[in-house]
Point group: C2
Chain length 105, copies 2
DNA sequence: TTGTTATTTGGTCATTTAACCAAGCATTTA
DNA sequence: TAAATGCTTGGTTAAATGACCAAATAACAA
């Protein structure tokens, strides 16, 4: 593998990793219907504000979202909306898993 | 959020997290063209065999791959091949990121 | 049966992650 | 200008992760 190929795979993995946390994935899904300010997201998350802010910064770092300050508030939106189109397949994965476990139990 | 919704988002995040490591993502991509035994994957990965084996078990746990022992070898394959269709979008994300950084630098 | 090959498992350790709290910084409101 | 609001940053800490080594297991070969 060349250095470039390695860098690409690392960047891709980083995007997946950013979405690989329940709170962050939930946030990204909320942004599917348009931008939201931090306070709107925070309303439904049971965690410290600083924790929420840090999760958003992980998503931003990875390139999943972008932010814009307007007045007192900061608005976040998806940068590349297709990122959530994937979820139908991810759901197929977990459905298969669930069925399998059901058989085992 | 109901307990079920929470469980679903956790399971989905778990799949993304499993793919969110360069080595594991690379492995999953290798399996796109059909099953491979551990030794075939290991050939190109500069890590201990035990490390490779553990990465595969993370992918298996998450439901991304399945394994089958045949003779002395264990073969792994994608369980739900669509899991990699996504990558075109992930690539769009990292391309956007790269362009942005290029502008900054 | 003994050895060899292919892979997994258990243990250890350094690093990273994610949570909280406290403090900091803009922006707006009083 | 002072106080309040909305969010981020820095510090701390416990838990999770990922790497390696050594040992275990399983299947085949000698």
């Amino acid at each position: 593998m060349t250095g470039k190929q390695k860098a690409i795979i690392e960047a891709k993995a980083n995007v997946l990793k950013a979405l690989g946390h329940p709170t962050r994935l939930w946030m990204a899904e909320q942004l599917e219907n348009g931008e939201k300010c931090v306070c709107e997201l925070a309303e439904f998350i049971d965690a410290d504000f600083s924790t929420i802010s840090k999760h958003l910064s992980v998503l931003k770092q990875a390139g999943v979202v972008m932010d814009e300050k307007r007045g007192k508030q900061v608005y976040y939106k998806l940068k590349v909306p297709c990122i959530l189109k994937y979820m139908s397949c991810v759901e197929a994965v977990i459905r298969a898993q669930a069925e399998e476990r059901a058989v085992i139990l």
